[in-house]
Subunit: 200 residues, 2 copies
């Protein structure tokens, strides 16, 4: 039921194969991308009736299409385009949810140069209209995942020329997400904690 | 800044050409699809800081990609897929907004057979979590556009075997949207009227 990105099916198949060979979650999840894990988590939340959050399809500029008789239209020339918004949005406990997921191999800081200005503008606008906007940041080296409210990053980056934030700063300013099997990235409790802080 | 669907640029260029020849809005807008008009309206709302609502990219299953040297990756085989959710979502006045746009040439009724079950399930889920879900229905023959709350259609369809609703029923159960130039389909006041009714 979800809009899986291209290649998802094969990665899910890969995942299943890995499960057969190695039942331990830590090995299986290591082979999956952050996106796959978030898709699985969103799928889980949807099935359990906990939230409706989807990844948006990757934008593609279609140039040429063939329409063969008695079979599906075939795109023969197309190009990937940059997303103009963030990757994920949806609704949870009456709140509009909007986020972007980023992963790093770096152990001491998180580079934000790859968070383009138009995505920052988009998240500022979402917040202005009452939505919750955040980053899901993954430190691969530690297998740690944090929910980082966008306005905090935005305020911080406004005070410095640096385009990276330290691991320590992130730990102090974000909400850790439990990593497991079902769901693989349990970020709804992190949203709850964030909402509680917003109320105080 | 918006995720325009494939072909948008050319239709916008077409639109400009039409404007040059025929300055009257009614002619120009007649040549545009409902989707183009909604994209223009969402763009207008975004620029004016009134709402953040985007059309999701059309989902495409990518099969083959070429990576030529010194130029962009070229997709050489891909297929259109059915969207698993609705086409539009975003945030307005703290509310999660979710809708699907449908157009008909029919003068007396609106066929809903082309509203697939998975989209209905999706809209039910959005409502359950506190979002606003509706259809934007366009009667081309009358150049009339209505915001039809999804739960009303859903309740109605639950009581009948018919998969179409009459024009009269729609007029009684929905909120008319002003049609103009900026924006072409002014549906935010229709959301306001719906919200007011929900509060009462």
């Amino acid at each position: 039921m979800l809009n899986y990105p291209a290649g998802h099916t094969s990665s899910r198949m890969r995942q299943k194969e890995i499960y057969k060979k190695k039942p331990k979650q830590s090995y299986a999840s290591r082979g999956m991308s952050l996106e796959d894990k978030l898709n699985q988590s969103n799928d889980y939340y949807l099935q359990k009736g906990m939230a409706v959050i989807h990844k948006k399809p990757t934008p593609v500029q279609v140039v040429k299409v063939n329409y063969p008789k008695r079979s599906a239209a075939k795109i023969t020339e197309a190009y990937f385009r940059n997303a103009s918004t963030t990757d994920y949005n949806g609704v949870y406990k009456n709140h509009y949810i909007d986020f972007e997921a980023k992963e790093t191999n770096n152990k001491t800081s998180f580079p934000l140069a790859n968070l383009p200005e138009h995505q920052r503008v988009h998240m500022r606008q979402c917040i202005k209209h009452g939505g919750l906007a955040f980053l899901i940041v993954s430190f691969k080296a530690y297998q740690e995942i944090y929910l980082l409210p966008f306005n905090r990053v935005d305020d911080y980056l406004g005070t410095t020329d640096k385009q990276s934030i330290t691991y320590e700063w992130i730990k102090q300013n974000s909400y850790p997400c439990n990593v497991g099997l079902f769901p693989m990235i349990d970020y709804l409790p992190a949203i709850d904690a964030y909402l509680k802080d917003l109320d105080n």
